[in-house]
Amino acid sequence: MSAPPVSRSRRIANAVRYVYLAIVALVFILPFYWLVKTSLQPNDVIYGSDLHLVPPTITFTHYQSALTEVGLVGSIVNSLLAAVGTMVLTTVVALLAAYGITRYVFPGRRTVARLVLLTYMFPNTALIVPMYGMFAAYGLLNNPVALTLLHSMLALPFCLWILQSYLESIPRELEEAAKVEGATEFGAFRHVTVPQAMPAIVAVAILAFIISWGEYMFAYILTTNSAKFTVPVKVTQLLGGYQVDWGLLTAASVVVVLPVLALFWLMVKYLGKGIAKGTGAI
């Protein structure tokens, strides 16, 4: 069967499509390119009056000062502790809950799934004061455990949602077969469900990491000791003061974005369409 003839309006629509995508790519990617470009230029070019799309000269001095002079490395370590903690805690908790909701019939399971998403109703700013008091009382200020708990709470609803829709989409016959063959409930979960759900598990783990890595408000409030600052707090501190050193600031920004980009790239490589599949089953 031949394809229906392509009408003139469709050909125009197609041209519009590519022009639109080119503009979209420009708007979403160019600002970040500019950040990287600024970070690689000497000050006289950054504060010069000419516009260069391609940097005329390249220097790494801003990276040198970002890594040695302002304590950025320490804050990367602080962020890593909280982000890895968040990644592990969120993934485990969300996976268990998603498994429970999709594989066991019990009263209220649909309600639980819905209510968890509605936690986005709570204004986080309201939590600052009682949270500060609570963690101070347990001696957890300046402690990655506090941030791990908080960031897991922030990441959980979205992660649970993705895992739940993914688990719903994979067939249960294999699990049933494993149980018939004598596997325990946990054995079937570990050796059948988990490998099948791996794409969604990886997506959720990385999402939790990204959420924790970028979280600003709680990290700012719950850290009173500047040696314990996480990266978002650290880089915004560099923005204070009368004279902003844009070379240093952009270099520091690029450094703190790199781990996230690396993880994100891994995820895309590993998942392919997995993440789209996970979010598609709304």
């Binding site: 309006s9 629509a13 499509r17 590519y18 639109y20 995508l21 979209v24 979403f28 500019w34 950040l35 009056s49 516009l51 908790v93 268990l96 809950a97 429970g100 909701i101 066991y104 019939v105 019990f106 639980v112 968890v116 509605l118 936690t119 986005y120 109703m121 204004p123 986080n124 700013t125 309201a126 939590l127 600052i128 004061v129 009682p130 008091g133 609570m134 708990l149 908080l150 897991s152 709470m153 959980l156 649970l160 970028g214 600003y216 408000m217 990266v231 978002p232 880089v235 923005l239 844009w246 952009t250 920004s253 703190v256 974005v257 996230v260 789209a276 599949k277 979010t279 598609g280 709304i282």
Partner: protein, 305 residues
């Protein structure tokens, strides 16, 4: 009374607490415990504080709420929060759907582009703030250098984060810039589930582009968009960090939405109890919104049944 008897006494008649229920509840319990301990419990603390005099610990009833109602600014901040939220949803909805539709056709480099535009969503908000403050920097930012020196289109720098007239629009734009990629990704995933045959059938019947969208695409999207709209409303209404990082709520009060107001009152003015009272009112507003949302959906469902 034995343990067994007690369990039986608590179980409502007719509900068996069998093994399946126990396992299911047990698996969900850590998630519920986390939310209860780190969200609900502290929030109850915030509600309690909103009825107290922080210094003496005395119960002051609705004093802080009465104070809030006398604040003329409160209403303008509420309106500002709505403008910010609705503006964001409109931008994210329009660009999220159109970008997803533009991507919904195979061409070389599509998957790479789809991934690359997620960049704004994965970088930390703090970096987004720095990035856009640099882009719009009045002296050396590329946008002003381009418009002022290279093209000569403007005579004074365009600095939307400082110029009161444009601030709310500018922060809305940056926040939408951050979220559009995620909306586009989710909508794209839904578009992929629409069977090709439906488009072919529409074409054979001679449907134009608009009627193809209205009769084929939109019916598949509407439920996803409705869920996204609900979550987007709740998330956007409560956003604090993006606004704070770009403008600190200023200049003046130009970008003071309610969450920024909470922070101002509780920390800048050290009136913690009043800040909490605002938060409680904020939550009540959102509860009303959620109830209205589900009520409307139910009415629509019954109407179409």
């Amino acid at each position: 009374m034995s343990v067994r008897d007690r369990v039986d006494a608590f179980a409502p008649a007719g509900v068996d607490i069998d093994e399946e229920t126990l396992t299911g509840v047990g698996l969900v319990l850590p998630a519920i415990a986390l939310i209860a301990a780190v969200l609900v419990y502290p929030f109850i603390g915030a509600i309690r504080l909103s009825f107290l005099n922080i210094d003496t610990g005395a119960f002051v009833g609705l004093d802080h709420y009465r104070w809030l109602l006398t604040q003329e600014n409160f209403w303008s901040f509420t309106v500002k929060t709505l403008v910010w939220t609705v503006g964001n949803l409109a931008l994210q909805g329009f660009f999220g759907v159109t970008v997803a539709m533009a991507l919904n056709r195979q061409f070389p480099g599509r998957d790479g582009l789809r991934t690359a535009i997620l960049l704004p969503f994965v970088i930390p908000t703090a970096v987004t703030g720095i990035l856009w403050r640099w882009m719009f920097n009045g002296s050396w930012g590329p946008i002003n250098v381009l418009l002022q020196q290279e093209l000569g289109l403007i005579s004074t720098p365009f600095t939307p984060f400082v110029n009161e007239q444009f601030t709310l629009a500018a922060v809305t734009f940056v926040n939408a810039w951050r979220w559009v990629p995620l909306v586009a990704l989710i909508v794209f995933a839904v578009l992929q589930t629409i069977p090709r045959e439906q488009y072919e059938a529409a074409r054979i019947e001679g449907a134009g582009l608009w009627s193809e969208f209205y009769h084929v695409t939109y019916p598949h999207l509407s439920s996803a968009l409705s869920v996204l709209g609900l979550l987007g409303f709740l998330i956007t209404f409560n956003i604090f960090d993006m606004i704070w990082l770009l403008t600190n709520g200023g200049p003046g009060t130009a970008t003071t939405t309610l969450p920024v107001f909470v922070y101002e009152v509780a920390f800048k003015r050290q009136a913690i109890a009043r800040g909490n009272a605002i938060s409680v009112v904020l939550l009540l507003m959102l509860i009303v919104f959620v109830v209205a949302f589900f009520w409307r959906n139910q009415v629509l469902e019954e109407g179409s049944a």
